[in-house]
């Protein structure tokens, strides 16, 4: 995997847990115990009500496709060689929306439909980083 050339996340203290869990092939979200809001991306204070009383919850990994783009021209050099790929926004069943890649599907409008059910899959891109991606629900 040493030849992986695409950008890797710069993990932050508030998100180390998220990435650790991704390496274990689990998708975790922050949830506020005060207002009940589950949110993406992780922050140690609830962005809706500013409560410090926030937990981590394991997401079901299920959701629906909210929006997408089949990218034909990579935005930066390493992605020039990675096209086409599908940039996607997923509405998770727990509520939050997250960005990802849609994989395991033919890249055309016949097979990719907004509103389609999707589920998480994990792409171990390096020894240190596993990226949550999504595929059509089985």
């Amino acid at each position: 995997m040493a030849d992986y050339k695409l950008p890797l996340p710069t993990k932050q203290p508030e998100s180390d847990f998220y990435w650790e869990k991704a390496q274990a092939h689990e998708l975790w979200l922050r949830k506020c115990n005060t207002c009940g809001d589950a949110y993406f991306y992780p922050r140690d204070i609830c962005p809706k009500c500013y409560s410090n009383d926030v937990s981590w919850i394991q997401a079901s990994g299920k959701g629906t496709l909210h929006a997408y783009s089949i990218v034909e021209r990579g935005p930066i050099p390493p992605f020039r060689d990675a096209v086409p790929y599908v940039a996607a926004l997923i509405d998770l069943d727990e509520g939050p929306r997250m960005p990802t890649n849609l994989v395991g599907v033919e890249f055309d409008d016949e097979h990719i439909k907004i509103g389609m059910a999707v589920e998480v899959t994990f792409d171990e891109v390096t020894d240190e980083v596993t990226l949550p991606k999504f595929k059509p629900a089985s």
Partner: protein, 380 residues
């Protein structure tokens, strides 16, 4: 809140000496040329400037290069909308007595910079977006456009995007400073290559080298200057997210707040507007923004834009400079909207001049449909 409508005016506007592909200049030289040219347009000098506004670079880096030592400084930096918001802040500062002559400058070498611009890798985008190739405006805006198509119909949305691309090119053909002046047919639009679906190449703005500057002063001082004042009648600003996955609704921009607020401050309605200048980073930016501004309802944009009514000769002139799509777009284009609106209101735009326009709405958009500034400009 005090109503500052018509208490200040734009008295100078200019681009840098050259815009387009200008490899022989730096971004700071673009700021400097534009500043000199806009002050000359205002019949003011560098030494008259006491308020300084810019975005992108830090204010003291730009001001030092320009030889300006302001006693009021504003570095509001929210992407391409920044410079429109600077006008809003300038009128407040002028009324508060913090400055009298506000200089707003921009310069970017979008195409020819010798070193790349970068984002801080500590920001959330580097964790959650970049690893997925969700980088830069086309991919992000394309996803938003896909949602609009899903909600309001693919074919009619596609037609609306084409109407915008084609009408904007028609305006550019009458602007000697525009980079893209060849005719564009609807077939040209539909046949242009994919960038990030649903965007064709001709849905996307240019990437250019350019600078521009705007001078704002009090209404009183403006009346002492040779050119007719272009009054700031209304102004509003808003941002509601940075990253596209945090946008409350991919089909509604912050212009839903700033459009109605700026019009209310000016005491005018949509029907009063003679010229609409909407940031066109993409065709879709215009479609979503005109609805958000309230020119028509959600999903009605395709009907509103039908039959080239935004083109020369149409009853809803839009982006008469040729816009970011065909005139210039160095990265943060918003200031160029102001330049064109002021020139149209002064009657300085030659072949593309509208007949006696009195009111223009200018809407800058920044980031990933993240921020907007709307101003209403008018002449007596």
């Amino acid at each position: 809140m005090a109503n500052l409508s018509k208490t200040a005016a734009i008295v100078g506007v200019a681009e840098s000496d050259e815009i387009g592909i200008v490899p022989g200049k730096s971004a700071l030289m673009m700021h400097m040329e534009a500043a000199r040219n806009a002050l000359a347009d205002a019949a003011l000098t560098k030494d008259d400037v006491d308020g300084f506004f810019t975005a992108g670079y830090w204010n003291y880096d730009v001001a030092e290069f320009l030889g300006i030592k302001p006693t009021y400084t504003d570095s509001t930096s929210v992407g391409g909308s920044s410079f429109v918001i600077h006008v809003a802040h300038a009128i407040a500062a002028i009324n508060a007595g913090y400055c009298e002559v506000a200089l707003i400058t921009h310069g970017q070498m979008g195409r020819s910079a010798r070193a790349p611009y970068g984002r801080d890798p500590n920001l959330p985008s580097a964790q959650y977006d970049s690893p997925y190739g969700i980088i830069g405006p086309p991919v992000n805006y394309a996803m938003a456009a896909s949602r609009y198509m899903h909600q309001y119909g693919e074919e009619r949305t596609r037609q609306a995007l084409a109407e915008i691309a084609v009408s904007t090119r028609k305006w550019a053909q009458m602007n000697p400073k525009a980079m893209m002046r060849d005719p564009m047919t609807f077939d040209d639009y539909h046949n242009s290559r994919w960038i990030a679906r649903p965007f064709h190449l001709l849905d996307c703005c240019l990437v250019t080298d350019a600078g521009a500057a705007v001078v704002v002063t009090s209404a009183e001082r403006a009346k002492t200057l040779p050119k007719a004042p272009v009054y700031v009648l209304g102004a509003a600003e808003h941002h509601d997210h940075s990253l596209i996955h945090q946008m409350p609704d991919l089909t509604v921009t912050p212009a839903a707040i700033t459009g109605p607020a700026a019009l209310a401050m000016a005491g005018v309605t949509h029907k009063d507007i003679d010229l609409t200048m909407i940031y066109d980073s993409f065709t879709y930016t215009v479609l979503a923004t005109l609805e958000s501004l309230g020119f028509c309802g959600p999903g009605e944009g395709p009907d509103f834009l039908a039959n080239q009514r935004s083109a020369p000769g149409g009853d809803w002139p839009l982006n008469t400079s040729g816009g970011g799509l065909s005139y210039t777009h160095p990265g943060m284009y918003g200031i160029f909207l102001i330049v064109e609106a002021v020139r149209q209101l002064r009657g300085e735009t030659g072949e593309r001049q509208l007949k006696d326009p009195k009111l223009s709405l200018v809407n800058g958009t920044g980031g990933l449909l993240s921020s907007t500034g709307t101003i209403i400009l008018g002449v007596d």
